[in-house]
């Protein structure tokens, strides 16, 4: 499934990365600990988190993640957005909690 299809099916808000929505999502990682993501996420995964600061974009780029999904209505900070645009990382958002978000992603891609 592509990032675009996931965003449409889950009605996710797209903060940036419109030109990179054709990426295929290969699994998903759920964590708010950055070292955990750094050490364990695999390239192509979608990343569900509530962290909104710029280092999230840096990690997504370094790990070649397919997209970031922010939960609970959180929005990316201005410099996060800027960094994500530069690194071509789609940043998406939902008003749902992490549990519901992860559950839906699981049903859609697994």
């Amino acid at each position: 499934m592509t990032v675009k299809e996931l965003a449409e099916k889950m009605n996710l808000k797209i903060f940036c990365g419109e030109t990179n929505l054709d990426r295929t999502i290969e699994g998903c990682y759920v964590s708010d600990l950055l070292s955990d993501v750094m050490g364990n996420a695999k390239s192509g995964m979608a990343w569900i988190t509530l962290q909104t600061h710029q280092n999230v974009a840096a990690i997504a780029s370094l790990k070649d993640l397919s997209c970031i999904i922010l939960v609970k209505g959180f929005e990316p900070e201005e410099d996060t957005l800027q960094h994500a645009v530069e690194e071509e990382i789609p940043v998406l958002g939902t008003s749902q909690q992490t549990f519901e978000t992860a559950g839906q992603v699981y049903q859609l891609i697994c």
Binding site: L34, S35, Q51
Partner: protein, 136 residues
């Protein structure tokens, strides 16, 4: 090829910049993707450690045809007990740093797991040197 990059303590805005540059450089040189991934995990964690714990530091990257050697030299508080610091879950990070999702005590274990050779030397009150070597 040898490159040097300065890193400023506390500058979370630019944390990961050096890792990003090194990643691009390794890609351009056609280094194996698996080696790039491991190296970048180790380097990013070590770079963030300078930002989170030290006053300032210098990262020296030496790229050869068969390996990458990275030295991270910082001026900072140093590590009193390196064995303790290497343990998963042990951290001295500030509450602010933890709030950002760093400081979970996973950094040094991540570095170790993603380095072929890792050397950590530290002098309390002076600073820490981390040396990472990964073979291609």
């Amino acid at each position: 090829m040898v490159f040097e990059y300065p890193v400023q303590g506390g500058d979370f805005t630019n944390a990961g910049t050096v890792s990003s540059k090194v990643k691009k450089m390794m890609r351009q040189l056609g280094v194996d993707a698996g080696v790039i991934k491991r190296t970048i995990v180790a380097l990013y964690e070590a770079e963030v450690n300078i930002v989170a714990h030290a006053y300032k530091g210098v990262i020296t990257v030496q790229l050869d045809s068969d390996k990458i050697y990275i030295k991270l030299d910082d001026e900072g508080p140093g590590i009193p007990d390196i064995n303790q610091a290497m343990q998963r879950g042990y951290s001295t990070a500030s509450p602010e740093v933890r709030e950002m999702g760093f400081g979970a005590g996973m950094g040094l274990p991540n570095i170790k797991a993603n380095s072929d050779v890792l050397e950590v030397h530290s002098v309390v009150g002076k600073g820490t040197t981390v040396e990472i070597t990964n073979n291609f």
